[in-house]
Subunit: 144 residues, 2 copies
């Protein structure tokens, strides 16, 4: 069981933007360089984060990527739900492709759904402000 | 986020064996045929389930695969932990390969760990007996 790389990188982008000094913006290349990860993957991730209203791009000379809301207003459960569009833990979670013979009588589906709710509820209790709290340490680790 | 096919099939094997009439055993081919899934995958799954003490194989003319314990003694949290040996939700969960720059100051690791605990705790509350409860319906769906 793994998060997609999308989710992993989405968290890294959001943390990066959250610890940036007030008023400073970032480029995708800069974020990719500091984390030593693929710029190409980050482009897709930031595009999605933009569509979902977590970040936006300011044009112009001092332009770049910034958070669209204050870190305390970015709920981590929302981030996971936005990035993990494939929360299909087992075959029957996707009725379009499900071929499991026992679906009609299976109680496992409900148990997995309950477990997934419990999982997401934990993320719902935190915001990006919690992730950005160790700010000075994060700035140092990212050589910012 | 998905379970491995291992876990999905492990649950199917256990449910199949749990609804079998008392004293009857099953073959891997029979289980594969009833679920219309790959016999080859099932072989690996049942091997793992055997190693972990969930099922065992009886030799001889009336031999075959059977549960090693009563369904009520097979905890679903244990099944998930047995099959999902890759509960590495993000890169830093595997210190051997982790290259994330901010690991030392990252609070996300703790939040994900807490979410994973909440997820597994739900499975811990159920046993195979809960999955086998709609027995007559399951027997009909599996043409047993």
């Amino acid at each position: 069981m793994r998060f997609t790389r999308y989710t992993d990188y989405a968290f890294r982008v959001l943390i990066y933007l959250a610890v940036k000094p007030e008023g400073e913006r970032a480029t995708i290349k800069e974020i990719a360089d500091r984390y030593v990860i693929s710029e190409n993957h980050l482009m897709k991730v930031t595009h999605r984060l933009g569509q979902q209203g977590f970040v936006h791009t300011v044009r112009g000379r001092l332009g770049g990527l910034e958070l669209a809301r204050a870190p305390a207003a970015i709920n981590l459960g929302d981030v996971v739900r936005c990035c993990e569009d494939d929360l299909v833990l087992v075959e029957c979670f996707d009725p379009a492709t499900n071929q499991c013979r026992i679906t009609a009588a299976c109680t496992l589906t409900g148990i997995i759904g309950e477990a997934l709710d419990a999982f997401l509820t934990v993320f719902d209790r935190y915001t990006l402000a919690d992730l950005a709290a160790p700010r000075s340490q994060l700035l140092r680790l990212l050589s910012m």
